[in-house]
């Protein structure tokens, strides 16, 4: 053997396009992939019958569709139709060249059918058998090919990864240690989740390593570890470009089959109609009778022997190219130079018709040349100690290498809805998990709807603008189903029938594959399950509390809060964050939240106050989902806007304590800020139930400066509750 390795990786993926109704054009994507790629690749594996060290990644949607009896039976019908069409063609007056190709197709479609039936129509069995025989290795992908860098939560990424692995394991009987990241899209942090889910390697494009920090010593000649210890195998662009590029690569050779010219478009409608869509839509039959010919629209007929000849030439050329590439890097040791060549499986056969045979012949040539093929799994077993750890930034194998395909002006409209679904799932799981069998089923179904919506295929298709309507409709449909089911969950109107209907719409994944807790945050578990339920509480907003005593205000607030707590009341005190003090403290019945303003960057007092108030409002509305409040009590002018908003939106009585006023602090004040504060102070009188003012303040004098109503009182003694009826009960413990 020569120094160096070659590792071939094939990723089979299609979106989940199974529809109960017949004649959906998208289902033909599956037929084409089976006929042109999956079966022909399996033929090569079967022909060679030895360890090839190919790694085949098969995505959960493909796994599920291959296992689906509906699709299996329809595929057999499809093959029969094709054979019928071929017979019809052969009965027509065709040229010798056409007839030769038709004979080739007749043999081929018979072979497809025989092989398919041999595996009981389930090609998962074929892949599984060859994997267990040691001919190929297998990995899978995330549940629906969601684009990791654009997910919002860890939970969504984890659900995609774990669900994908669960689904694969159910069909294949083992849990792979490698995974194909959709679109080879890496983002910092996804490696942490992968590692925690048992994944030890994945694939990235070569610039992920070339631009890593620090620059890897071996360049793309070896995988690297991400910060969390997942080995990243880089695509070698030079070597893979020989294969995938239709411009500089092999597939563009004039003798190969032309992809864009299908028999359906060369026949009269009356003739071909019975093989076309019942609604009169013409589509590709898969019988492509021409060869690429050259850069011309005048295509010549396909000559199978010529194509086969080229396969041999190109396999030899590839082996030679690889040999010299490995020789050029033969000095590399620890680990030896590795060329990783990951591809979309559908490139071979579907786009490049002769691709599978090329791969088979390459395997033979590499053997003869003494070039060692290896799987990433074996490579890691041998060389795990020799890999460098680096930081890899976000990147993909898509156009221009980053996220432009999956977020642009054509598909950006989907993102906020996907993020909303993620946030809802986290909340729903926290609120409803383990309530009943029915709610758990509903949560799993919601996750199913979400993963079907988050498939990267919809964004990809919208970017390409072919079948864009289908992609947009699918996205909308899954979102609508999510919305309807979530509503049923909220309204307690779940029934087994409803859940069955939702499942049947897209019977993707089984419930055992979906783990509700992949969406659970430990903190939410604490809040919903362990946090003590409290009596209705008093909400206090104050600019000062503890450790920051200026003047009398802070002391008054503390005294009042403690007096109420001593009476058994639960009190939530919200006050600005103060450096050196904890953001949250609890003393008996008193909860103190020191709240950071929504921005630390402001200069003007009024704006600082505004960001503090926004922060209060956001916090209280979340708190109110768990804590019942009975009154809002604010201190000082700064908290008035938040207190007013909260009293209004939560429908709570508002109490106000104003120990001083801008006009009493600053009797000769004027100017913008003075006026603004004065206006805010004035705004509390009409809405507060009672406004308590400092003892030294003369209410008649105040009347001259503010529009007081009858609800103004001097502060009560501490031992008297300021809330009157609203304090209702003494929560004696």
């Amino acid at each position: 053997m020569k120094p160096g390795y070659f590792s071939l990786v094939l990723h089979a993926h299609l979106p989940y396009v199974r529809h109960e109704e017949k004649h959906r054009l998208e289902e033909r994507w599956v037929y084409e992939a089976i006929s042109e790629t999956y079966l022909p690749i399996l033929w090569q594996v079967d022909r060679l019958k030895r360890p090839l060290h190919w790694t085949v990644s098969i995505s959960p949607p493909v796994v599920e569709m291959l296992a689906d009896p509906l699709i299996q039976d329809r595929y057999v019908d499809h093959l029969d139709e094709m054979l019928e069409l071929i017979e019809l063609e052969l009965s027509e007056d065709r040229t010798d060249a056409e007839k030769a190709t038709l004979h080739f197709y007749r043999q081929r479609y018979n072979d497809l059918k025989n092989t398919f039936l041999h595996w009981d129509k389930n090609l998962n069995e074929a892949f599984r058998t060859y994997r267990e025989a040691g001919y190929i290795d297998m990995v899978t992908c995330t549940a629906t090919h969601g684009f990791n860098p654009h997910l919002f939560t860890e939970q969504a990424a984890r659900a995609e990864i774990r669900t994908g692995l669960n689904c694969f394991e159910r069909h294949y009987g083992f849990r792979p240690t490698g995974i194909w990241l959709p679109e080879c899209a890496y983002t910092p942090g996804v490696d942490r989740i992968l590692f925690e889910e048992g994944i030890r390697y994945t694939f990235v494009d070569e610039h992920a390593l070339l631009d890593a920090d620090p620059t890897p010593e071996k360049g793309i000649g070896a995988p690297v570890y991400s910060p969390h210890g997942v080995a990243l195998f880089p695509r070698d662009q030079i070597i893979s470009g020989k294969i995938w590029s239709s411009m500089i690569g092999y597939p563009g050779h004039p003798d190969y089959r032309e992809f864009y010219r299908d028999l359906a478009y060369d026949r009269d409608w009356d003739y071909i109609q019975s093989f076309m869509h019942p609604e009169g839509i013409r589509f590709d039959t898969g019988l492509k009778m021409h060869r690429i010919t050259g850069d011309t629209d005048q295509k010549d007929f396909y000559v199978r022997e010529w194509a086969e000849h080229q396969i041999g030439n190109h396999a030899m050329d590839f082996a030679k190219t690889l040999e010299s590439h490995l020789e050029a890097h033969s000095a590399q040791t620890f680990p030896p130079f590795l060329v990783t060549a990951p591809f979309d499986a559908e490139l071979f056969g579907h786009w490049w018709f002769e691709g599978p045979e090329f791969l088979g012949q390459v395997a033979e040539r590499l053997d003869e040349f003494g070039i060692e093929t290896i799987t990433p799994a074996i490579f890691l077993e041998r060389h795990f100690k020799d890999l460098q750890t680096v930081h890899v930034s976000m990147n993909t194998w898509g156009r221009k290498g980053y996220g432009e395909v999956w977020i642009n002006e054509r598909n950006e409209w989907m993102l906020r809805h996907l993020h909303m679904m993620e946030m809802q799932l986290v909340k729903d799981v926290a609120d409803y998990r383990e309530q009943s069998e029915l709610t758990d089923r509903a949560l799993k179904q919601l996750i199913r709807h979400y993963v079907l919506a988050v498939s990267s295929d919809w964004a990809f298709i919208l970017d390409g603008q072919t079948t864009a309507q289908y992609a947009a409709e699918r996205f909308r449909e899954h979102t609508r189903l999510f919305a309807e089911l979530e509503t049923a969950l909220y309204q307690d109107s779940l029934t087994p029938q409803l859940l069955d209907e939702h499942y049947k719409a897209y019977p993707f994944l089984q419930d055992v594959d979906i783990e509700i807790d992949s969406f659970l945050a430990p903190h939410d578990y604490y809040v919903t399950k362990e946090r003590v339920q409290e009596d209705p509480a008093i909400l206090v907003l104050t600019p000062e509390y503890h450790g920051h005593l200026v003047g009398g205000l802070g002391k008054r607030v503390i005294d009042e809060v403690e007096a109420r707590a001593n009476e058994g009341e639960v009190v939530y005190v919200l006050t600005p964050y103060h450096e050196g003090l904890p953001e949250y403290e609890r003393h008996g019945n008193i909860h103190v939240y020191r709240v950071r303003p929504t921005s630390p960057f402001l200069e003007h007092v009024m704006n600082q106050v505004a960001t503090q108030n926004i922060a209060y409002v956001k916090l209280v509305h979340e708190l109110a989902k768990r804590v019942p409040f009975k009154v809002v009590h604010h201190f000082d002018w700064m908290t008035i806007p938040a207190a007013r908003e909260l009293a209004h939106s939560l429908e709570l009585p508002l109490y106000s304590t104003m120990l001083s006023f801008e006009t009493t602090r600053n009797p000769h004040g004027h100017g913008g800020l003075f006026d603004a504060i004065h206006r805010i102070e004035n705004s509390v009188f009409p809405v507060a139930k009672v406004v308590y003012v400092g003892e030294e303040i003369s209410i008649p004098e105040l009347k001259q400066r503010y529009q007081l109503s009858e609800n103004v009182n001097t502060c009560l003694p501490l031992e008297t509750s300021p809330y009157g009826q609203d304090s209702m009960k003494k929560n004696v413990k």
Partner: protein
């Protein structure tokens, strides 16, 4: 104006048609309509409140004062999925807003980031109460902060750039940006003083590197983490765990 909008909506006009009819921005129409609808929902709501998590305290407490059950609003809002929305013809449609506060940024390329955001009615109303001006009249703006190697919450930035936004904007492709830079993006308003007041902000986000870095700013943090010198990696994680009740302690 709000009454007019509600009246036209009740007559069956679409929000778009109303905006055209009254010659006002559609955002204003949407805002008014939703505000009214929410108010209606709240006042019509008599539905028995099912306290989540089973608050088993005395029934009398709930009955003596409905107002004190602060969860009322939540339960009513929660009665339908936020993703459930109806178009003018009565069919489901993607909601045009969710009435929540967020700003999310995702990487498009080393030089561009996509940002989308929303501001809730609560926050809008709080600002109205703060500045005594209607939300529509507060000028909207966007700020890009370069916080590379800085802590955003400390209030420091290497540089910043603020630009005004048209009313009703809720997403932006921010470009051109620099590769290998940590950014925070903020949506907000310009106050009377001309100061930018952020309302929602993204988490810090790294733009990808676009060229070989040699030994850059990540090399040392990665080494420290690799050799166990720190408890957690000192680099950004783009997929942090999200908690629905993150503020509740």
């Amino acid at each position: 104006m709000e009454e007019k909008i509600v009246s036209l909506k009740q007559q069956g006009l679409t929000l778009k048609q109303i905006a055209a009819e009254l010659d006002v921005p559609i955002g204003k129409v949407q805002y008014a309509w939703r505000k009214w609808r929410n108010q209606q929902q709240e006042s019509e709501a008599v539905a028995p409140v099912k306290p989540k998590g089973g608050n088993k305290k005395s029934k009398a407490t709930v009955e003596t004062s409905k107002k004190q059950v602060a969860s009322t609003k939540e339960t009513l809002d929660g009665a339908t999925s936020p993703l459930l929305d109806q178009g003018p013809e009565g069919f489901w449609q993607l909601p045009d807003r969710y009435n929540v506060d967020f700003l999310h940024a995702v990487v498009q390329s080393p030089n561009s980031v996509y940002v989308c955001w929303e501001v809730s009615d609560l926050v809008k109303e709080t600002l109205e109460l703060q500045f005594m001006r209607r939300w529509e009249d507060l000028p909207k703006a966007f700020r890009i902060l370069d916080v590379t190697l800085l802590d955003y919450s400390s209030g420091q930035a290497n540089r910043s750039y603020t630009f005004d936004l048209p009313e009703m904007t809720n997403s932006w492709f921010v470009r051109p940006l620099d590769p290998n830079t940590t950014y925070v993006f903020e949506f907000g308003i310009r106050t009377m003083e001309g100061e930018f007041l952020p309302i929602v902000a993204s988490k810090p986000l790294d733009t990808p590197r676009a060229e070989p870095s040699g030994t850059g700013r990540f090399a040392e943090p990665v080494r420290r983490w690799q050799y166990g010198e720190v408890d957690s990696p000192e680099v950004l994680d783009t997929l942090p765990k999200y908690a629905a009740y993150r503020y509740v302690r």
